[in-house]
C-alpha cells in the first residue's frame, strides 16, 4: 500500500468534487420539476397524459443511464436541425448533455416516488379538507403535499444517493469529476487499490452525509408520530 501516493492524490481527487456536486445538485433540482409534471400527468384522468407519463417512465427506467447519456451527447448532433438551432451551444457541451440526461433520468424515477407519496395520502383526510370547504390548491398545499413529502422522503433519499453514484458516468463523456480524475490517475500510476480507496471514500462520505440529512429531515417531519415528550420540569429562572 502506497500511502504517499494516496496522500498526494487526495487533493487532486477532491478537485473533482465540485463538478460532481454541481452535476448532482443541478440535475436533482431540475429533475424535481420534470418529476412533479410527470407525476401529475400520470395521476390525471386524461388518457393521453397518463399514457405519455407511463411510457416515459417505462423507457427511462428500462434502459441504462449510459445509453441515455450517449444518445444525447453523441446522438443528437446527427441532426442538422439541432446543429443549426440556438440549442447547439448548450448541447455541444458535455456538461449540459450530462445535466440533460440526468435530469430526464432522475425525473422518471422521482415521478414514481412522488406518485407513491401522493397516493399514500389517506382519502379521509382529503374528504375532511373538502368538508371544511378548502379550495383545490389550498387542499393540495396544506394537506396532500406535506403528507406526500413525508411519505416519499426515504425513497427520495435513496434516489439522491443513486444520483451521487450515477454522476460518475459523466466521466465517460470527458467530464473530469471524481471518477474521471481517479481513472486518469490510475492509468498513470497503476495503483488501482490506493486510488479506489481515496475516491471511494469521497463517495461514501457524500452518501453518508446525504443519508444523515434525510434521516434528520424525516425526524423533523414526523413530530406528530413521535411519542409525546416527557413533561417539562419547571426550571427556576436564572438557572440555565
Amino acid at each position: 500500500m502506497n500511502f504517499a501516493l494516496m496522500w498526494d492524490s487526495t487533493p487532486k481527487l477532491l478537485g473533482g468534487l465540485v463538478l460532481t456536486l454541481e452535476l448532482v445538485a443541478l440535475s436533482l433540482l431540475l429533475g424535481i420539476f420534470v418529476a412533479v409534471g410527470l407525476a401529475l400527468m400520470r395521476l390525471s384522468s386524461y388518457r393521453a397524459l397518463s399514457g405519455f407519463a407511463y411510457a416515459y417512465v417505462f423507457v427511462f427506467r428500462g434502459t441504462p443511464l449510459l445509453v441515455q447519456i450517449f444518445l444525447i451527447y453523441y446522438g443528437i448532433g446527427q441532426f442538422e436541425a439541432i446543429r443549426d438551432s440556438f440549442l447547439w451551444p448548450f448541447l455541444r457541451e458535455p456538461f449540459w448533455c450530462a445535466i440533460l440526461a440526468y435530469t430526464l433520468n432522475t425525473g422518471a424515477y422521482t415521478s414514481e416516488i412522488i406518485r407513491g407519496g401522493i397516493e399514500s395520502v389517506p382519502f379521509t383526510q382529503i374528504e375532511a379538507a373538502r368538508a371544511c370547504g378548502m379550495g383545490r390548491l389550498l387542499l393540495f398545499r396544506r394537506i396532500v403535499l406535506p403528507i406526500a413529502i413525508r411519505q416519499a422522503l426515504p425513497a427520495y433519499g435513496n434516489e439522491i444517493m443513486l444520483m451521487v453514484k450515477a454522476s460518475s458516468l459523466a466521466s465517460t463523456i470527458t467530464l473530469m469529476e471524481v471518477t474521471g480524475i481517479a481513472r486518469s490517475i490510475i492509468s498513470k500510476t497503476f495503483a488501482p487499490v490506493e486510488i479506489f480507496i481515496v475516491a471511494g471514500s469521497i463517495y461514501l462520505l457524500i452518501n453518508f452525509a446525504v443519508s444523515h440529512a434525510i434521516r434528520r429531515a424525516e425526524y423533523r417531519l414526523s413530530a406528530h408520530l413521535r411519542a409525546p415528550p416527557t413533561p417539562i420540569v419547571a426550571v427556576p429562572v436564572g438557572v440555565h
Binding site: V67, F70, L71, Y74, S168, S171, Y203, L204
Partner: protein, 234 residues
C-alpha cells in the same frame, strides 16, 4: 434501415450478437451475485462477529461507491490480484483476465451486495414458529434448511431479486469501458463507422428495453408460480 440489415452490409447481426453477449454477462454476473448474496446474507445473520463486520463492510462499500469505480478497480487491479493469489499457491507466471471475466467479477460483486440485503430480508421473513416447529420434531439442521427455510426464502426473495436483475442487466452497459463487445460497445463502434450515432444508440436502447421487459415478465410469471400455494384475501 439498410444499416440494420443482416450480413456484410448491415449491423443487424452484430447488434444481435452483442445483445447475446449482454445477456451472457448479465446471467453469469447474476449467478455470481447470488453466490455472493447467499454468503453475505449467511455472514450477516451469523453469530460470528467478524463475519458480520466483513459482510457489513462489503455491502456498505459496494453500494455506496459508483459502479464505474468498482469496474476500474477490477479492470486495472484484477490481474494483479489474481497473480498475487496465484503466487501464494506457487504459480509465478503472468495471468491476464479477459474483459468477460473482469465484467462478470465486477458486476457480480455489485449484484451480490444488493442480493445480500434481499436474501437477508427474506430469511428474516420466514416465520420463527415454523423453524421452532421443525426443531421440535427433531429435524436435523440440513433437512430443515432444505425443507423449511429454502423454499420460503426463495419465494420471499423473488420480487427483490427481480429488481436486482434489472439493475444488473443495466449495469452491464458500464462494462463497455473495458472493451467487451456488448450492446453499448457495439453501438459505439457502429456509430463511429457509419456516423449515425443517434440511430445506433436508439437501437441499443430498444434492445435493452426488450431485455428488461421480457425478463420482468418472466420474473412476474415466476412470482405467481412461487406463490401458487398462498391464500390471499382478494
Amino acid at each position: 434501415m439498410e444499416l440494420l440489415s443482416f450480413g456484410d452490409q448491415g449491423w443487424g447481426d452484430e447488434m444481435l450478437r452483442a445483445a447475446a453477449m449482454t445477456l451472457a454477462v448479465s446471467l453469469s454476473s447474476m449467478a455470481l451475485g447470488l453466490v455472493f448474496g447467499a454468503l453475505g446474507a449467511a455472514a450477516k445473520l451469523s453469530s460470528i462477529a467478524p463475519a458480520r463486520w466483513l459482510a457489513e463492510g462489503y455491502t456498505t462499500v459496494v453500494r455506496g461507491v459508483p459502479e464505474l469505480l468498482v469496474i476500474y478497480l477490477l479492470f486495472f487491479g484484477g490481474s494483479g490480484a489474481v497473480m498475487f493469489v496465484a503466487a501464494l499457491f506457487g504459480y509465478h507466471g503472468y495471468v491476464e483476465l479477459n474483459a468477460f471475466t473482469i465484467g462478470t467479477l465486477a458486476i457480480g460483486a455489485i449484484c451480490g451486495a444488493y442480493a445480500t440485503e434481499v436474501i437477508r430480508g427474506a430469511v428474516l421473513a420466514v416465520p420463527r414458529g415454523e423453524i421452532e416447529a421443525a426443531q421440535a420434531i427433531g429435524m436435523p439442521r440440513r433437512l430443515m434448511f432444505r425443507r423449511i427455510l429454502l423454499p420460503q426464502v426463495a419465494r420471499f426473495a423473488l420480487p427483490g431479486l427481480g429488481n436486482v436483475w434489472q439493475f444488473t442487466l443495466k449495469d452491464t452497459a458500464l462494462i463497455s469501458v473495458t472493451g467487451l463487445v456488448e450492446i453499448m460497445r457495439q453501438a459505439h463502434i457502429a456509430a463511429g463507422s457509419t456516423r449515425q450515432p443517434f440511430t445506433f444508440y436508439v437501437v441499443a436502447a430498444v434492445l435493452y428495453l426488450l431485455l428488461t421487459t421480457f425478463s420482468n415478465h418472466g420474473f412476474q410469471r415466476a412470482e405467481s408460480w412461487a406463490n401458487r400455494g398462498v391464500r390471499r384475501a382478494s
